[in-house]
Symmetry: C2
Subunit: 162 residues, 2 copies
């Protein structure tokens, strides 16, 4: 279990999706705009999340991504593990044999620590995060900000098509 910015991006995007998803599929373009993450990078992350069976892609106009389970059934640890390649190895190819064919201190200690962190993050679901006032408040404000930002291009586009 590693905690990096990559995992944070994934968790943030999934939380955005969980907040907007129940109604209709959410496009990655929307998430990219709201969370200021590169669209193509999001595509990479969601390819992994999809393979992990956490989201479903809906193609075509009006499409986007939906959670494949209820937000209360998706936990943070799973999200992070889906996008992080498990760079276990570390030296001990898998079974602890990095030091004279025996497990090293590194292996035992860190595996134990990260197991505990993993189980801690497994106890936190997207749903439980959404219930926190602070989170939903920020999400609501981002929706309003987005309307402001998007408004101009949309009206321009209408003028163009008109």
């Amino acid at each position: 279990m590693r905690l990096t910015t990559k995992g944070r991006y994934a968790v943030t995007a999934m939380l955005d999706l969980a907040y907007h998803s129940p109604s209709r599929p959410v496009t990655l373009t929307d998430i990219a705009t709201r969370q200021t993450i590169s669209l193509s990078y999001l595509e990479q992350l969601f390819a992994r999340l999809r393979k992990a069976g956490m989201v479903k892609g809906v193609r075509g106009p009006g499409g986007g991504y939906k959670l494949s389970r209820d937000s209360s059934q998706i936990n943070i640890a799973d999200i992070i593990e889906a996008v992080d390649e498990q760079v276990d190895s570390t030296k001990c190819g898998g079974e602890g044999n990095c030091q004279n064919n025996q497990p090293c201190l590194t292996h035992d200690l860190w595996m134990g620590l990260s197991d505990q962190i993993r189980s801690y993050l497994k106890g936190i679901s997207l749903g439980s995060l959404l219930e926190q006032d602070m989170v939903s408040e920020v999400a609501r404000r981002q929706d309003m900000d987005m309307e402001k930002v998007i408004d101009l291009p949309v009206t321009l586009q209408e003028k163009i098509t008109a």
Copy 2:
């Protein structure tokens, strides 16, 4: 709070130090040999650990590094924070203003999560890790392995000085 291999190296090295330290200063060369970490990389890590006041360097022959506090008073979170540059920023230079001059979901969510992980790791000290049978057992075995490797040079040196 990030969890990377860099932090693991630091924690492992500190645990090795804690195990051997009470008696005498421990050289980075010894730690590098036992934990198979590059000596120069260890030097970089210990420069940070020293600045953070967690270890004291003892120069000259018979020197090395010692813990500056009892191992029960040094926790894992402090070690990781000492070696990881705080790549908070993330975009929100410090005070959440990354999104239209207001805190973003990323910031609030992840800061909250990593705060909880931090406080969790703060509750684990080097001392408490050493009390675990598995850890001390591996450490003891590493000492024996090392003697085998080091024995030849030492006896040669005695012959030379004799």
